[in-house]
């Protein structure tokens, strides 16, 4: 169990003016599974490599349980990184790959063999030890990479885009496997991804990094219900962002006067709500007349594009709730006050 603390961690690559990572401070509680989320080039892989000791920070510190590890060599940090392309050693069998870390630590052969069998069973790949990595599928290779990392009982596990090379049903399987093992072993785990859906399904907490800076660090749900600003909302696919002024529990903006939940931020700001929060039908507060301009069937959900006056509102609803609603129809919608959120900014 290891608590990882990044403080003011900064990396500026030689020959570039803007830092790839700008004063990142992040407290990862012991045994938690954290996602570093951001578009490619936002500095998240840089962060991982600095934790693993493969890259030196320009400034700032990394501590494990309060002790700085910056001067430790990569092999002594107790951190194992699993790379996105798995990097299995091609000329070794699967078993030799998994046992690699223990061989480097000069563990006796019979102990290694027993641990390799145990690890291959843990990642649900028994009986594949004698194969070559090239004979395995992508999903199997990833599990071998995971087993190879876990066998050395790292204090901290780093995963680089763990689900992005897998197809849809393998993703769910791998997610359950990673979460299950991580919770069982209690290894503090940090993974990076550019895909917000991958982040929210896997992580206990998500740290969103945009342009080298930490923008929001919270439980996954918060990014949908309480985004820090318009950019964060946009990254999570939030389309409904409207400027206006919040005062005394109401918001005046393009949709008229709306009732806000208690404790909403006062002053000029941006109103946001999830497309899934839009309800159909009349209500005592926040009821609006809307015209349906577009209807898109998404399988388990249906997306409606609505216009309220001049303003476009995006709604995603269960298909049986919108049965019979056609483009051009006029309907009544309402926005439950609890689903409204005011962000800083004026756009």
């Amino acid at each position: 169990m290891t608590r990882v603390l990044l403080s003011e961690l900064t990396k500026t690559y030689p020959g570039t003016a803007a830092p790839a990572l700008d004063r990142l401070t992040l407290d990862v509680p012991s045994g938690e599974l954290i996602a570093l989320l951001g578009p490619s080039g936002c500095g998240k892989t840089t962060t991982m490599k600095m934790i693993a000791g493969l890259l030196e920070p320009t400034s700032g510190d990394i501590t494990f349980d309060g002790r700085s590890i910056l001067w430790e060599k990569p092999e002594n940090r107790g951190v194992v990184m699993v790379f996105q392309n798995y990097l299995l050693f091609p000329y070794m069998s699967v078993a030799d790959n998994v046992g690699f870390g223990l061989r480097m630590r000069k563990v006796p052969k019979d102990q290694i063999a027993a641990r390799v069998t145990e690890m291959l069973a843990l990642v649900k790949l028994p009986d594949l030890g004698r194969r070559r990595p090239s004979e395995l599928s992508g999903g199997q290779q990833q599990r071998v990479a995971l087993a190879r990392a876990l066998i050395v009982q790292p204090k901290v596990l780093l995963l680089d885009e763990p689900l992005s090379n897998l197809d849809a049903h393998l993703r769910i399987e791998m997610r359950d496997l990673i979460r299950g093992i991580q919770k069982d072993l209690g290894i503090t785990t940090i993974f990076v991804t550019h895909d917000h859906e991958e982040a929210v399904v896997l992580a206990d907490r998500v740290a969103l990094i945009l342009n080298g800076q930490l923008r929001q660090y919270e439980v996954p749900d918060a990014f949908y219900r309480r985004p820090a600003d318009a950019e964060v909302a946009a990254f999570f696919g939030g389309k409904n962002v409207l400027p206006g002024v919040s005062a005394h529990g109401t918001f005046d903006g393009p949709l008229g006067r709306l009732t806000l939940p208690d404790g909403a931020r006062p002053g000029p700001g941006l109103l946001t709500f999830r497309p899934e929060s839009v309800r159909i039908g009349p209500a005592p507060v926040n009821a609006l007349k809307a015209r349906v301009s577009e209807r898109l069937y998404l399988g388990s959900r249906t997306r409606l594009r609505l216009t309220v006056g001049e303003t476009v509102v995006d709604a995603v609803l269960s298909p049986d709730l919108v049965e019979g609603i056609r483009p051009g129809d006029e309907i009544t919608i309402n926005l439950p006050p609890g689903s409204l959120w005011i962000m800083a900014g004026t756009r």
Partner: protein
Amino acid sequence: MNGPSRLSRSMLVLSGALLIIWLILPLVPMLIWSFAHGWRFPDLLPQQWSLQAWDYALSDRSGTLESLGVTILIAALATLLSILVGVPAGRALGLYKFRGKGLIELMILAPVIVPGIAVALGLHSVFIQLGLTNTLAGVVLVHLVPTLPYMTLVMAGIFANYDPAHESQARSLGANAVQTFWHVTLPAIMPGIIVGGLFAFLVSWSQYILTLLIGGGRVITLPLLLFSFASAGRNDITGAIGIIYILPGILILLFTARHLSGSNGAVGGFGRI
């Protein structure tokens, strides 16, 4: 698809046979000469056979076996040094981008393009000052001039197809720098070291001018010995020593043939620069 058509297959056999004849045929008279006791012009075969030439070639008086030892020693040392220099140089050229890389590639190729004697004449005066002329060490060093380009280029090709992230992965799994090189880097580049080493060995093996110039007649390798008997008109002894001279090359080639096949990345990468 069916296999190659009958016509193209017979063309393949024919060209293969021609190639073998082209390479083997010149060796046949050499073999005959080594067993001949007098072989005059119009005769197709010698009048008399004898083991005299072989007897002499393998005796201490000819110095053949001593020369063989010297040649093997020089070629082995030149190969070893080529590997020690060529592997890091090839890594730098194959993996990294840096200023002046094109110029350095050209400089490494230069000894292959510029005649060796031109380089050696310049080096000769330097080697005299350093006291390296007439020594085995000096000959080994000068052999690096033609062997290093081959080694470096082969290794550059290997490293161009090599992912150094495997090394980061090994470090992250707890291997120190030495273990990482031994268990991860070395197995990955071994085909290149074998192929490049083979080139280096054979290039050193066949050096004449450089050995003569720097060795000053004191360091006598097989080509030097061969040449002195050939210019003395002793075709029978030349034949016997010639057979001894080409044998190691053929043995090495047979031994490492699988590493030279077209499916191997090492040779494929050779044409990269």
